[in-house]
């Protein structure tokens, strides 16, 4: 039987301290939920690497190539003499390339964001509505009651306003 321990704090510093202590005590998959982005999480929970920049880069690259391919390819598919210009006209096609580079870059960034942050997620997950208002929440999964007790003690020591237990494994 697993459940999650959830501690509510009213300032980011004590939430971070608590998270650090939990981690030190061997708890894993810690999460901090907060109404605002908090700085200094990385020092406590370890560095995060995001894959988004790879998505952005690849998207932009694909966009650039397909932009030029679109303009040049359609021009060749039906050669359409216009204004005495070559069929593949560089300056205008580079503008199309530029725009599609950005368009694909943007779309890929969004895709990267969704994939790397596991959104959209409409299933039930550990969540404390107060964390969207003004509470900083530390949560960790616990294997059994004894485990939970230990976590509760740590959180209370760190100054939690409230400690709750949420859900079983189905959460």
């Amino acid at each position: 039987m697993t459940s999650n321990v959830v501690g509510l704090f009213h300032d980011p510093e004590s939430a971070l301290t608590a998270a650090g202590q939990l981690k030190g005590a061997g708890f894993e998959s810690l999460e901090i939920m907060s109404p605002v982005p908090i700085h200094g999480v990385e020092e406590v929970l370890g560095k995060k690497k995001s894959v988004i920049k790879n998505f952005t880069f690849m998207g932009a690259l694909i966009g650039g190539i397909s932009g030029f391919a679109l303009a040049a390819g359609t021009a060749i598919a039906w050669p359409h003499p216009v204004g005495g210009r070559p069929i593949i006209t560089m300056p205008p096609f580079l503008i199309i390339t530029y725009e599609l580079t950005i368009l694909f870059g943007i779309l890929a960034t969004v895709l990267g964001f969704f994939i790397s942050s596991r959104l959209p997620a409409f299933r039930n997950r550990v969540y404390v509505p107060e964390s969207a208002v003004d509470k900083f929440v530390v949560t960790a999964p616990c294997d059994d009651a004894e485990h939970f007790k230990r976590a509760e003690a740590i959180l209370n020591d760190a100054g939690a306003e409230q400690v709750r237990e949420i859900g079983g494994s189905d959460l």
Partner: protein
């Protein structure tokens, strides 16, 4: 990173912000409905009705004629594209430079971008002669194997504006996800369903914040060059022609500066209205007006300079057609509009050198509206004066807008207002999490039961 914006907002706790913003969404007074009905009715009457009339009878319902084949429709199109140029662009720049004063206003500024773009896109349909075939300008595989002509500046427009609409929609949406989540928890019924879907199950975990931050930053990096390119491309619709006084290399920077200029003035207007009508006095403060005023002043100086350069190059070229175009612009049929534009966009903004002017709300509102009137005139003049005086004197003529055009122009403002009114009831029009972030501590009153916490 907790930098106070002003001592005024300092008085608020996280909770108060939360309540204020959510109240602005769910509490809807009769005033709102009256406003919405008025705006919606005006849109129908002044925008859609004349437009349908024009669709039925042909574009002749507008005042365009032989040399003046482009008219206020295109001027309005540029105007709305220009107005869109401050929201998202400014927001991106301020995000990257980490300026905290943007936070209270950027959501509505971005909404302005989005809706201006929607209105501008509608104007494309109003402008063309056969809007029912407008899809031919979109590259899609078809049976006839006919593709659009990618060499055309108008085609650049299609691509750029499609990208820009996509980009700014995504940008405003990404920035609102945490706020949607916050609203989700406080609402019930259909609103709850809507916000649950919109917030995508956001929980505000450290990981989500981290990803959002990076995604947002990359979007900002992509959108800045995009916004600059969009208005450059709009200017190329003109500059790529060989019409005297349109065929100018300075047009791209000129249009970009003009766009940001009128967009910033538009933000001042919208901020003023939002502040008064939604009770956001605590969030939108003198500081914002002061900063926006400084920005406007700088932009006005650049704009004036470029305008001077344009006149000088035309005069210095010494060719008869440029001379005639210049002469016509300064002293011809539309000259009173030209001087009006100079007064509204170059002379009056000098008032903003005074700090007292910048920090007083009503004068700033009046000035911002004057600037936008001037900027609309600028766009109109660029088209009307240049087309009236081209190479062959036999084909000279004047263009005067028809009542249908004027009605559609006024109606477009009602359309914008309607869209904006719908927006304020769906999106939290002040970014909650970012305003919260700028404040010192989550809770100001220590009187709240702190459950014996040492902190």
């Amino acid at each position: 990173m907790h930098r106070p914006m002003t001592t005024e907002t300092f008085k608020l706790g996280y909770n108060d912000i939360h309540d204020d913003v959510i109240r602005s969404i769910v509490k809807t007074g009769p005033k709102y409905y009256i406003a919405l009905a008025t705006a919606g009715g005006t849109t129908l009457l002044c925008f859609f009705f004349p437009w349908f009339y024009q669709l039925y009878y042909g574009i002749g319902a507008a005042g365009m004629n032989h040399p003046g084949v482009w008219g206020t429709y295109l001027a309005s199109f540029i105007f709305w594209i220009g107005l869109s140029h401050s929201g998202t662009l400014l927001s991106c720049v301020l995000h990257l430079t980490n300026s905290s004063w943007r936070k209270a206003m950027y959501r509505s500024a971005e909404a302005m971008t989005l809706f201006s773009l929607v209105v501008a896109a509608t104007y494309v349909m109003v402008h063309v002669g056969r809007p029912w075939f407008i899809h031919w300008a979109v590259p899609y595989p078809n049976q006839m194997e006919l593709w659009p002509n990618f060499r055309s500046p108008l085609m650049f427009d299609v691509m750029a504006i499609a990208t820009y609409i996509t980009g700014s929609t995504i940008f405003i949406y990404m920035g609102s996800i945490p706020d949607f989540a916050a609203v989700r928890d406080r609402t019930s019924g259909w609103r709850n369903t809507m916000y649950t879907l919109l917030s995508l199950g956001w929980r505000g975990t450290d990981k989500e914040w981290h990803r959002l931050h990076w995604a947002y930053t990359f979007l900002a990096v992509l959108i800045i060059p995009l916004a600059v390119s969009v208005h450059s491309i709009v200017s190329w619709d003109f500059a790529m022609s060989i019409v005297p006084s349109l065929h100018q290399t300075i047009f791209a920077p000129y249009f970009v500066v003009g766009a940001i200029y009128s967009g910033t003035a538009g933000i001042v207007t919208v901020m003023f209205v939002l502040r008064k009508s939604m009770g956001f006095e605590q969030y939108i403060t003198k500081l914002h007006f002061d900063n926006l005023g400084k920005l406007l002043l700088v932009l006005s100086l650049i704009w004036t300079y470029i305008n001077g350069v344009e006149l000088f190059t035309a005069w210095y070229s010494g060719t008869s057609e440029e001379y005639e175009a210049l002469n016509y612009k300064l002293f011809g049929y539309y000259s009173w509009l030209y001087w009006e534009m100079i007064i509204f966009c170059a002379v009056l903004p000098m008032l903003m050198f005074s700090t007292r002017f910048r920090t007083s709300f009503v004068p700033m509102l009046i000035l911002s509206i004057a600037i936008n009137i001037g900027m609309y005139t600028e766009r109109f003049l660029i088209i009307a004066t240049s087309l009236s005086r081209q190479y062959l004197p036999d084909a000279w003529g004047t263009y005067v807008p028809s009542p249908v055009e004027i009605s559609i122009m006024l109606g477009s403002f009602a359309l914008f207002t309607t869209l904006f009114l719908v927006f304020v009831k769906i999106f939290p029009s002040v970014s909650m999490y970012e305003v919260k972030e700028t404040m010192a501590t989550p809770k100001m009153e220590p009187a709240a039961p702190a459950a014996g916490s040492p902190a």
